[in-house]
C-alpha cells in the first residue's frame, strides 16, 4: 500500500496528538506547534487530493488489525480530501488573523488551552470528514461540541459564558437526537458501518419492513444535525455565540464547525440512508422549507441589528438556509451547489469576521454602526476586505458568492414544483443581503471630517493584513476558477455511492 493512503489517518492522529502536547507547553510555543500541525495536515490533504484525483477512486482505510464491520474504518475520496484541505486553510487563516485580539481578550496563562481546543477541533472536523462509521462520527461530534463551547467562553465575560451555556444546551439536544437516531438505526440494521447500513436500508425499503422507525431515524438525525449547524428555527444560540466570542473563535465556529456538521449530514444522506430513500422521505421537504424560511428570516434579523458582529452572525443563518435549500432540492445539482456554498460561505464569513474586527478596533472598540462611520478610511485593508466580503455575500461576479448563487439558480431550473419558490426566495434574499451589507459598506466609507480615533496602518499589522489578503485571494480563486472545483465536487459526490 502506498504511503499516501495513510495520510487521512496521519492527519487525524497528528491533530489529536497536538492536544496533549500543547497542554504542557507555554502559550507561545503552543501557538507555533498548532500552526505547524495545521500546515502539515493541510499539505498532506493537498497531496492526498492530488493522488485521489489521479487515481480517480476512493479507498477505505482499516483502523487496526480487524476489517470493517468489526473494527473501525475511515474512508477518503476526492470530496473528503478537498474538504480537509479547505478546512485547514480556513482554520490557519482564522487563527492567525485573530492572534492580536486573543492577547487583548484572553489571559495569557490560558493561551495554551486555546490552542489545545483548536487542535482537537481540527481533529474532530477531520474525523467527521473522513469517518465511515456512524459511531465514530458521534464520538467526534462530542469532541466538536465541547471544544466549541470552550472556544466561545474563553473570553470569560458574562455575554460569552451565557452564549456558551445556550450553545451547549441547544447543541446537546442535537447530539441527543443524533444518538437516538444512531441507536434506532443500529436496532434496525445491526450495523454501525455506513456501507453496511446502506445495504440493509435498501433491503428494508425494498421489502417494506419497518417504515415508521426508518422515517423517525432519518428525521432524528437530520434535525439533530440541523440544530447543531443553526438552521433557521433552531438558530437562537447563534448570534451571541458568534457575536461576542473572540474573533478567531467566531471565524472558526461560523465557517468550520457548522460546515463539519453539514458535511456529516451530506455523508449520512449519501452513504447511510441512500439518496433515493432520503428523497422519498418527507424529511427532505421539511429541510427545504426550513432552508427557504431561514434565507429570509436570517436576513431580516440581520437588517434589524445595530451591532456589526451580530449582523454578520445573523447573516450566517441565512447562508445556512441556502445550503439546506440546496440539499432540499433533492438533485445532484442541488447538492453540488450546496457543497460549493459550504466553501464559499466558509471563506467569506471568516473574512468578514476578521475584517470587521479591524474596523471596530479603529472605532474605539465599539461595534455600533454609528461609531463605525468612516472606519474604512482609518484601516484601509480591513475596509477593503470587508467590502469584498460583502460583495461576495451579495453575489457580485468575480467573487465566490456569485458562483454559488448561480449554481443554486441553475440547479432549480426544471425542478418541478420547487423552481418557483427557489427563484423567488433567492431573489428576495439577495436583495435583503444587499440591503444590510451595502448599508454597512456605505457606512464605513462615509467620510468623517474629524475622527476622534487614530488610523491603523498596514505596516503596523503585517500578519493581519497578510491574512486578509489571503482570504481575499481564496475568495477570488473560488469565484474565478470555479469550474474545476465544481468538477471535483461532482466527482466526489459520485464517489460517495
Amino acid at each position: 500500500m502506498e504511503l499516501i493512503r495513510n495520510f487521512p489517518f496521519f492527519s487525524i492522529m497528528i491533530a489529536m496528538f497536538s492536544g496533549p502536547v500543547c497542554s504542557v507547553l507555554p502559550g507561545k510555543v503552543a501557538r507555533v506547534v498548532n500552526a505547524c500541525v495545521i500546515v502539515i495536515v493541510g499539505i498532506m490533504s493537498a497531496v492526498l487530493l492530488g493522488y485521489l484525483y489521479v487515481t480517480g477512486e476512493s479507498f477505505v482505510y482499516m483502523m487496526g488489525h480487524f476489517p470493517a464491520p468489526w473494527g473501525n474504518e475511515i474512508r477518503a475520496g476526492v470530496l473528503e480530501a478537498g474538504m480537509a484541505m479547505f478546512f485547514c486553510i480556513v482554520m490557519l487563516l482564522s487563527v492567525l488573523g485573530g492572534i492580536k485580539k486573543l492577547f487583548d481578550e484572553v489571559v495569557v496563562s490560558k493561551h495554551n488551552l486555546y490552542y489545545i481546543l483548536v487542535g482537537l477541533m481540527l481533529s474532530s472536523l477531520l474525523a467527521l470528514v473522513y469517518t465511515n462509521d456512524l459511531f465514530t462520527a458521534y464520538v467526534f461530534v462530542e469532541i466538536n461540541t465541547i471544544s466549541a463551547c470552550g472556544l466561545i467562553m474563553i473570553r470569560e465575560n458574562g455575554r460569552t459564558i451565557e452564549a456558551a451555556v445556550r450553545y451547549m444546551i441547544m447543541s446537546l439536544i442535537g447530539s441527543a437526537m443524533i444518538l437516538l437516531g444512531i441507536c434506532m438505526i443500529y436496532d434496525l440494521t445491526g450495523h454501525l458501518l455506513m456501507s453496511n447500513i446502506k445495504e440493509s436500508v435498501a433491503a428494508m425499503t425494498a421489502g417494506g419492513t419497518y417504515p415508521e422507525p426508518l422515517l423517525c431515524t432519518i428525521a432524528l438525525m437530520s434535525v439533530g444535525l440541523a440544530i447543531k449547524c443553526a438552521l433557521f428555527p433552531f438558530h437562537s444560540w447563534l448570534p451571541d455565540a458568534y457575536g461576542y466570542s473572540t474573533v478567531s473563535s467566531a471565524a472558526i465556529l461560523s465557517s468550520l464547525v457548522s460546515k463539519g456538521y453539514i458535511f456529516l449530514l451530506i455523508k449520512i444522506i449519501y452513504r447511510v440512508i441512500g439518496f433515493d430513500v432520503y428523497k422519498g422521505s418527507g424529511v427532505i421537504d421539511v429541510m427545504f422549507i426550513f432552508g427557504l424560511a431561514g434565507m429570509i428570516f436570517g436576513s431580516v434579523s440581520a437588517i434589524r441589528e445595530s451591532d456589526v458582529r451580530r449582523m454578520i452572525a445573523y447573516s450566517s443563518v441565512a447562508q445556512i438556509g441556502y445550503i439546506f435549500m440546496g440539499i432540499g432540492m433533492g438533485t445532484q445539482f442541488g447538492m453540488v451547489a450546496a457543497v460549493f456554498h459550504i466553501l464559499s460561505h466558509a471563506s467569506t464569513k471568516s473574512l468578514l469576521f476578521i475584517s470587521a474586527i479591524g474596523l471596530t478596533d479603529v472605532s474605539g472598540g465599539s461595534r455600533k454602526f454609528i461609531e463605525l462611520t468612516g472606519s474604512g478610511y482609518r484601516n484601509r485593508i480591513a475596509g477593503l476586505s470587508f467590502a469584498i466580503g460583502a460583495l461576495s455575500m451579495v453575489g457580485v461576479p468575480l467573487f465566490s458568492g456569485f458562483i454559488s448563487k448561480l449554481l443554486f439558480a441553475e440547479a432549480a431550473i426544471n425542478l418541478s414544483g420547487r423552481m418557483l419558490p427557489v427563484f423567488i426566495v433567492l431573489g428576495i434574499s439577495t436583495i435583503l443581503n444587499a440591503i444590510y451589507f451595502m448599508k454597512t459598506v456605505i457606512r464605513i466609507y462615509t467620510p468623517v471630517d474629524e475622527s476622534p480615533y487614530p488610523r491603523a496602518h498596514m505596516r503596523q499589522l503585517p500578519l493581519y493584513s497578510m491574512v486578509l489578503c489571503a482570504f481575499v485571494i481564496l475568495n477570488v480563486v473560488l469565484g474565478v476558477m470555479s469550474d474545476p472545483i465544481i468538477g471535483l465536487i461532482g466527482q466526489g459526490l459520485t464517489m460517495f455511492d
Binding site: 500500500m1 504542557v24 482499516m62 496563562s109 471544544s147 463551547c149 450495523h191 419497518y210
Partner: protein, 326 residues
Amino acid sequence: MSRRKTDEEYSKTKAYKFFKWLRGENSYIPEETRMDMGLLIPIEDDSTIKERMNEKQMAIDKVYDEDSNKLLKFFNKMYRVVAAMFLVILAALLIYNVAFLPPVGERDKPDNNEVTERYIEKGIEETGAVNIVTGMILDYRAFDTFGESNVLFVATITVLILLRLNKDKRPDRDELEDHESSDRIYEPKNDVILQTVAGFLVPIIMIFGIYVILNGHLSPGGGFSGGAIIGAGLILYLNAFGFEKAERFFTEKTYKWISFFALTTYCLCKAYSFFCGANHLDSHIPLGTPGAILSSGLILILNICVGLVVACTMYTFYVMFRKGDF
C-alpha cells in the same frame, strides 16, 4: 406623446402626486422648515449619548417588563404551554415508534448478526482479553475509545478555562485566606471521624481502583470504572486532610504531566497498532495466554492510560469547582 388630460386635470391625479413626491417636491412642507438632505453626522457630547442610551434602556426594560406588558405575559404563558405540549407530542411520537422496532430478545433480530458473532466467538482468541467488552472497546474499536478519552480531556480543558482563577487577576492574599477560613467553617477539614475513616478507606479504595484497572481485560471493569474509583478516593482524601496535604503529591503540574503522559502513550501505542494493521504488517505485540495479568497485548497499557486520565479528570473537576486553583 400627447396628453389626454390638461395640466390642471393631471395635477389632481394620484400619479402626478406620486411623481412629485418621488422628485422630492412636496408642496405641503414650507420652504423654511425643509431640511438639508445632506449627510448629517450628529455631534453630541458624552452626556447626551449616555442619556439617550439610558432612555433606550428604560424603554426596553418597560417593554420586557411582564407587569406592564400584558401581551408579553400572555406570550410567556403560551410559550410554556406550547413548549410542554410540543415535548409531550415528541415523546409520544418516539414511544409510538419504539413499538415498531424489532422486539427485544428475538432470535432473528437484525443486530444478532455476524458482527456480534465474531466478537463473542473469536474475541478471546483475537484480542487475548477474557472480558469481551474490554476487547471490543480497546482492540476492535480502539479508535472510538481514543476519541472518548479525548472527550474527557477536552472537557477538563473547558472546565479549566471556565473555573481556573486567573493568576494575573488574583485577589490579594488576605482575601484568599478569608475564603479558606470560611470554607473551614462550613466544611470541617480536621474532622477526627472523617480523618480516621478516610485513613482506613482511602488506601483500600486506591488498591481496589488499581485492581479494577489492572484486571480490566479479565473481569468486569477497566480504565473508565477503575479511574473513577481512584478519583473518588483522591477526593475523599482531599476532603479529610485538606488542600495542604493533597498538594504535596497532586498539583496542577502533576495533572498536566500525567494526562500528557497517558494520552501520548495511548496515541503512540494505538498509532503504531493502527499503522501496522492497516498496512498488513505484523505488529509483534504478544497476546500472551488469556487469563493472565500480563496478556492481551496493548489492552493492559491502554487501560492504565485511560484509568489515569479518568482519575485525574475527576479530581481536577472537584478541585476546580471547590477552589478554582490547585
